[in-house]
């Protein structure tokens, strides 16, 4: 079956091939391999971009294929990041604490160790107690489970509530935005148990791998992100092939008709919403160790809107379009905001792109929705049509 699936979807094969070549090239040229044509910080940027591409695929599935314009998927991304961040921070702090306590005349008790770790982590919000949600922070396995379970459960409960009451279209978008805002506001509180607006930091140091250089760690995460992106692409391409794809696209085009074919539309939406939320969580768990820090600002509703924009620019309803959109916009964005773009001097006024980039981006959303509703991916259609 798998063979026939890939044979039926040549674009998946093409995508995997391109991704593999790209990964190989970056690996060979990276500092970790000694060539150093690509700096470690750029490897990190590329790795982060791959994670953004993964969540863009999830967004494309939920919006481009299923028609749910979710403005909450970055919340799931952030939750994934927080889940892995809790372990990273706990394990690293534990190591530091154990080292500092090892010089003591008598060995420390578990309570003393836990107190010291708590002090290190939560001192910044004036606390030293471990909140309940940190109960599993000492176990990598359980926290990895959280990466998947927490976004999944949240999406399940929220989606069940929303879909059950037949909230659709714009209402649903606003509702997902409200959910994201509520989560962000909650995390901004100091007593949320996740260090308020300080967020979790120092995530780039992977406990147990301190002997490896950042170059190696970055490359490892880059490769892992590439693998996750490839796997995510294949997974969703598989899910959306065949009858499931027909039903999901049917829901997007005419929800009522699908319902009158006997499909329980809500279950399908819930399935897609939850699955994409889980994938978003995984993408977040890969992204934040590369970013090094996560704070509630990352979850703010605006991030999810950007996500929708990437997908729109890349082209909805095609998985590679989402990847192109996310990669193009986030890389171009960091080029402009990073001061890479040259200023334009009019004599009376100098356009500095760090200030004007958002204006340009804003108007390009408008242009894309008005003039290129199919996004960059639409260009491929034109090429294909010309060839045939």
């Amino acid at each position: 079956m798998q063979r026939s699936f890939l044979a039926q979807n040549p674009s998946v094969l093409w995508f995997i091939a391109c991704l593999a070549i790209f990964t190989a090239v970056v690996t060979v040229l990276s500092e970790a391999m000694g060539v150093g044509l690509i700096s470690t910080s750029f490897v990190k940027t590329l790795g982060k971009t791959l994670c953004l591409c993964l969540i863009a695929i999830a967004m494309d599935v939920v919006w481009g294929y299923c028609g749910i314009l979710s403005l909450g998927h970055f919340a799931f991304f952030g939750i994934g990041g927080y889940a892995i961040g809790m372990w990273l921070m706990y394990a690293r702090t534990e190591k530091i604490v154990l080292e500092s306590l090892s010089g003591q005349p008598i060995p420390p008790t578990t309570a003393e160790i836990s107190d010291a770790i708590g002090n290190q982590i939560f001192g910044v919000v004036g606390s030293s107690e471990f909140p309940v949600i940190w109960a599993f922070a000492d176990s990598l396995f359980l926290q990895l489970l959280m990466v998947v379970l927490v976004p999944g459960l949240l999406a399940l409960v929220f989606g069940w509530l929303a879909f059950r009451s037949r909230v659709t279209g714009v209402y649903l978008s606003i509702l997902t935005q409200a959910m994201t805002l509520a989560l962000a506001l909650y995390l901004f509180q100091n007593n949320s148990g996740l260090r308020g607006n300080n967020g979790l930091s120092g995530l780039q140091n992977i406990p147990g791998f301190a002997h490896l250089s950042q170059a190696t760690v970055s490359l490892a995460f880059f490769t892992a992100s590439a693998f996750a992106l490839g796997a995510g692409h294949v997974f969703f391409a598989w899910v959306l092939s065949g009858k499931m794809g027909s039903v999901v696209e049917g829901i997007r085009d005419n929800e009522a008709r699908v319902r009158f074919l006997g499909y329980h539309v809500e279950s399908y939406k819930l399935f897609i919403f939850t699955t994409t939320a889980v994938v978003s969580g995984i993408a977040g768990a890969l992204y934040y160790p590369q970013a090094g820090i996560i704070n509630p600002g990352e979850i703010a509703p605006i991030a999810s809107i950007y996500l929708a924009v990437w997908v729109a620019i890349g082209g909805r309803g095609r998985l590679y379009g989402a990847v192109i959109g996310a990669a193009a916009v986030s890389l171009v964005s960091s080029w402009f905001t990073g001061g890479g773009a040259p200023d334009i001097n009019f004599g009376f006024y100098v356009i500095q792109w760090t200030d004007w980039w958002l204006v340009l981006l804003g108007f390009s959303f408008v242009a894309v929705t008005l003039f290129f509703p199919k996004g960059i991916g639409g260009l491929f259609d034109l090429l294909v049509r010309k060839q045939s």
Binding site: K243, M244, D253, N254, A256, F260, L261, G262, S267
Partner: protein
């Protein structure tokens, strides 16, 4: 004879407007029935109630041998009970091929996981071919539904109903906007379908109803005012007053 569907004493009100007024109507298994009535007679609302789209204020809707009430079921559950519906406007999935359209409709488990793990069974493929044959779209299975003509879309939608293997088909104005040849063909499809299941056709076009040659129910202001053969109901003075009289004027 036991009834397939019994609708009794159903009323529904929208913002003070009584769309359905103490309506009672029954259907036998494998029956072809036409429902006619002027605009606003409650034909579409009646279908909405049977298919679960609208909940009535009062009354009962009893289905099948086990006498299940349809009022407690969701739309998709009602479909799975064996009631199929074709909408007034042809609503096929225009972005997908005819085969995909029919494949979605073929009677098979409807849960997300069953669908995800769905394999193309020989039985289903055969069923799709058979339905396509019946609606005359065998040559168009790989075409995108959006490219079909208006009549073909209507047939595809009827085909999607047939593929569900329903026990009751509710068909809303199947012949609207069709050429005479297409109407002929539509009549054939519906008559063929009525051999295995009950077919209820809502129609404005008297000529089409006459061609169906079946029992006719006349609705007016949300209630049945006459029932019987077309000749019988057209002779009814009330029907002439409220409906035919007006339409001839």
């Amino acid at each position: 004879m036991s009834m397939l569907l019994e609708v009794s004493g159903v009323s529904v009100t929208f913002d003070g407007f009584r769309a359905i007024n103490n309506l009672s109507i029954n259907f036998a298994p494998a029956e072809l029935r036409a429902i006619i009535g002027p605009n606003g007679a409650g034909k579409t609302t009646f279908m909405d109630i049977v298919t679960g789209k609208t909940k009535p204020d009062e009354g009962r809707v009893i289905w099948g041998d086990k006498n299940i009430s349809l009022l407690g079921l969701s739309e998709s559950e009602i479909v799975m009970e064996g009631i199929g519906r074709k909408f007034q406007k042809p609503t096929v999935f225009e972005a997908q091929t005819v085969r995909q359209n029919l494949a979605m409709a073929v009677r098979a488990p409807r849960g997300p996981f069953a669908v995800l793990m769905h394999k193309k069974a020989r039985r289903n493929a055969a069923r799709i071919e058979a339905v396509a044959e019946q609606i005359g779209l065998s040559d168009s299975l790989t075409r995108i539904a959006g490219q079909l003509s208006h009549g073909q879309k209507q047939w595809l939608e009827i085909g999607m109903l047939l593929a569900q293997e329903p026990r009751l088909m509710l068909v809303d104005e199947p012949a609207a906007g069709m050429t005479p040849e297409e109407r002929e063909k539509t009549t054939e499809i519906l008559k063929e379908a009525a051999k295995t299941c009950a077919v209820v056709v809502v129609e404005h076009d008297m000529e089409f109803v006459r061609r169906l040659n079946c029992k006719v129910t006349v609705l007016h202001e949300g209630a049945v005012i006459a029932e019987g053969s077309l000749d019988h109901v057209t002779a009814n003075q009330t029907v002439i007053d409220v409906y035919l009289g007006r339409s001839h004027a």
